[in-house]
Amino acid sequence: MIRPFGINEALFIVEAIRWTLALSAVAFAGGAIGGLIVALCRVSSVAPLRYLALGYIRLFQGTPLLMQLFLVYFGLNIFGAGINPWLAASLALTLHASAFLGEIWRGCIEAVPSGQSEAAWALGLGYVDRMKSIVLPQAAKIAVAPTVGFLVQLIKGTSLASIIGFVELTRAGQIINNATFVPFKVFGLVAILYFVLCWPLSLVARWTERRFAVATQR
């Protein structure tokens, strides 16, 4: 039985945006915490921590996000957590975001001139104060643009969670298409909705990048 593609069908898709946003928010929040830890390990003076973080980053940058989703999804099942798309998608995207944000932020930390750390050292500041008060606030300014850029990638990446049965924007589109069989209209709408989410973020990223470029030229 073929349903017509009407206002209710369109609304069903539009409303699924909140799950895309929720998943993006969870993955970004988790990825921010994980990414900070990974970045700090990457610039640590303790060699094993550096290699551990590097290995982690290489692993997640070198495998497709879809495989990461599958491994977490089926892995959780094997370890007794059952079939849980929410948990699997959040965890996989968090791990993914941790690796990418970790590498982005490592670069930002290293972009802070070494003289800043040296001055902090010479003043007797300990590691925590040196990072918290001196290095990270300066790295954060540099980090805004590439971080927002990655957030756009992450939002688009959540569409893969549809494959493990997580009902977000893309999955809602598939469900409606299976009932209406007007794929161009359905996925056209889905694409437009992604664009509406991501384009303003891209603008923000570009704007902050320009502002930063102006602020640093002297």
Binding site: W121, A122, L123
Partner: protein, 259 residues
Amino acid sequence: MSTTSPAGRADAAADTPAVTMEGVEKYYGTFHALKHIDLSVARGEKIVVCGPSGSGKSTLIRCVNQLEAVQKGRIVVDGIELTAGPKNVEQIRRDVGMVFQQFNLFPHMTVLRNCMLAPMKVRGVSKDEAEATARKYLERVKIPEQAEKYPAQLSGGQQQRVAIARALCMNPKIMLFDEPTSALDPEMVKEVLDTMIDLAREGMTMMVVTHEMGFARQVADRVIFMDRGEIVEIAGPKEFFANPKHERTRTFLGQITGH
């Protein structure tokens, strides 16, 4: 964190040198940056270190607060052996102030916050006390009116004077200066040197890497000439400039003074 020194240390303070280096060797990979350095700096002494670029003079003073680790030898600062372990290094970092060629002020903090940060975080003094101390030293380097500005709003000379004030706020026993005037426009060199001369008059122990030979003549108790990682010559300033013993010293002095 108590700022009072333990009894044993106070006793040691009276008769031990401020800095002692014995048989110090430093390598960057295979490059031999410091070759068998023996040096003793007395309390209150002003040492000027000069030499061609790459001679190891910056490396020498950076070893005193362990910005650079050494591979061999002993370094004792204020009676505490640095080369004996990280706890000792912690102790010394807070008691040795340093001023850098590029100022290295924290650009995201006001001048006042720059001066207050370390005393609050490291010495644990209250905000009010840290602010009072900061204003006192900003007064002393003659820029109290700049306290609320950010470093980028100041001239190079002003920034360097803030950097000196920031170091003094930690109440250091020894001050290290790593080419403090080399990044300055010529008209700003004097204001920074004058600040350093004031500090020297007050009896601060100072190790200064600089090419300002006028400063060396006026302030130094001893001048050290370094070349290729070695201390080539140590002498009082009169002797050093009038009658340098080594050929390399003469060549160097000829290069920087003879036009």
